[in-house]
Each structure stands twice: as structure tokens, then as C-alpha cells.
């Protein structure tokens, strides 16, 4: 019997790995994948809670998170393509459009 805490801890681990990825990688696509990783770790928590509490809302939430993730991936990748076309790079060090 696996207690709930293990699932949560594992999700936390995945999340941390995702954070490290976002922080240390320069490639925008990999950063993006790390974000997906983090989203999935959250999904895992939802499912775990759902199962242990016997409540379907957690699963519903995962369902919507997936929709959002799909939308986000589509838009995000489009942005990456547009960026690459203009800057010839997807290295986030060299992208500082936010600077005012």
C-alpha cells in the first residue's frame, strides 16, 4: 500500500527538476518542456488526491489542465517559431524584449 505522501513527494521532485531545467537551460524549447514537466507534476498531485479522497473534481481539473497545456503548447511554439524567424536564435539569454 502506497501512502498519499509518496505520490506528493514524487510530484514535488518532478516539479523541482522542472524548476532546475527552467532556470539553467538556455534553449527555449527545453525550457518549455520543463514547464510541461512541472504541469504534469501538478497533475499527478491532483490525481493522487482525487484517488485518496474519492472525489472526481481532481480528475476534472487535470482534464482542464491538459486543455490549457495543449493551447499553451500551440501558442508557445508558435511564438518560438516567430522569435526564431526574427532573431535567428531561441537562446533566451539573447531575448530581452521585456526590457523597457
Amino acid at each position: 500500500m502506497i501512502p498519499l505522501n509518496y505520490y506528493l513527494l514524487f510530484a514535488a521532485f518532478l516539479f523541482s527538476v522542472g524548476v532546475v531545467g527552467v532556470l539553467i537551460r538556455r534553449n527555449a524549447i527545453i525550457v518549455f518542456m520543463c514547464i510541461e514537466l512541472m504541469l504534469n507534476s501538478v497533475n499527478l498531485t491532483f490525481i493522487a488526491f482525487s484517488a485518496f479522497m474519492g472525489n472526481a473534481i481532481g480528475q476534472m481539473f487535470v482534464f482542464f489542465v491538459m486543455t490549457v497545456a495543449a493551447a499553451e503548447a500551440a501558442v508557445g511554439l508558435a511564438i518560438i517559431i516567430a522569435l526564431f524567424r526574427n532573431k535567428k536564435t531561441i537562446n533566451i539569454d539573447q531575448i530581452n524584449l521585456l526590457k523597457w
Binding site: 498519499l4 532546475v20 527545453i30 510541461e36 504534469n40 490525481i47 472526481a56 493551447a71 503548447a73
Partner: protein, 173 residues
């Protein structure tokens, strides 16, 4: 060790390894493939939690659709391999890793030490919750409105993606 535990630990190990490799590997394609591996393992974990429907959808949407999109973009852009991870490591990266580890420790503290492990099993009703029938029912009754809203979200995303990826689009400095 019961069968259940063996399955759980092996899935955790593989999935954790895959996650690390996503971050570490030099080639984006390798990263993407490791991520797919990770997703499969997660789907397995979902099954251990009696969430059959979500597990299947997860594979279809993530591994099947999103990751294919990623691979497609990577190949489209024809990216070069990056330099070795170790060569690009600077104090900022170490700080980031340290921060993440601190973060993990904190969560560990909260999940394991602060909240003592309750020895409760998986809820008996979870078996029927995970079924397509049950989820479908509440999706089209209780969650109908948000469900319909997702269609708007997806349309917006499609239009957004098309507009952004169009050739004419230019970012101004």
C-alpha cells in the same frame, strides 16, 4: 514488497531518471524523447491510482499530440546541439540548483515530517470515479459550462498560433 509497490517504485525510478535526463541531455531531441518516456511512466502511475481515463487521455494528448508538436518544431528549426552542460555552468546555475534543492527539502518537510503519514488506503469509490462513464456524466452536467469554455480557449489558441506563426509577422525591437 507487494506487486503494487514494485510497480510504483519502478515507475518512479524510471520516470525520475527520465525527468533528470530532460534537463541534462544536450540535444533537444533527446530531451523530448526522455520527456515522452516520463509521460508514459506518469500514465502508469495514474493507472495505479485508478484513473484509467485520464491515463489514456494523458498519453493521447501529451505523448501523442503535444510532444509530436515539440519534435516537429525542433526539427523544423534544425537546432544545433548545445555546448556541454558542465561548460556552461556558472554560479547562477549552481544557485538555481541549490534553490531547487532547498525547495524540494521544504516540500519534503511539509509532506513527510510536518504532516505525519496517514495510513489510509486509496478510497474504495475511486475505482468507479476513474471510469469514462462517471467522468463523462459529470463533465456534461456539473462541468458543462467550463467544458464549453474550453472550446473558446482552444479556438483562441488555434487562431493565435496561426497568426503568430504566419510569415509576415515581425517583432519590432
Amino acid at each position: 514488497m507487494t506487486f503494487e509497490e514494485i510497480v510504483f517504485w519502478s515507475l518512479v525510478l524510471v520516470s525520475g531518471f527520465a525527468a533528470l535526463m530532460v534537463v541534462i541531455s544536450r540535444s533537444p531531441i533527446a530531451s523530448a524523447l526522455y520527456l515522452i518516456l516520463n509521460f508514459f511512466c506518469l500514465a502508469g502511475l495514474y493507472l495505479t491510482l485508478n484513473a484509467q481515463f485520464i491515463a489514456v487521455v494523458h498519453i493521447i494528448v501529451y505523448a501523442g499530440a503535444i510532444m509530436v508538436l515539440f519534435l516537429f518544431v525542433i526539427m523544423l528549426l534544425n537546432l544545433q546541439d548545445e555546448t556541454k552542460l558542465r561548460e556552461r555552468m556558472n554560479w547562477k546555475s549552481f544557485a538555481a540548483i541549490a534553490l531547487s534543492i532547498l525547495f524540494l527539502i521544504e516540500l519534503f518537510y511539509i509532506f513527510i515530517i510536518k504532516t505525519p503519514t496517514p495510513k489510509i488506503p486509496i478510497h474504495p469509490s475511486s475505482k468507479e470515479i476513474g471510469t469514462v462513464e462517471y467522468l463523462g456524466k459529470i463533465l456534461f452536467t456539473e462541468f458543462l459550462f467550463p467544458f464549453e469554455l474550453t472550446s473558446i480557449l482552444l479556438i483562441a489558441a488555434i487562431i493565435g498560433a496561426v497568426v503568430l506563426a504566419k510569415k509576415k509577422f515581425e517583432l519590432t525591437d
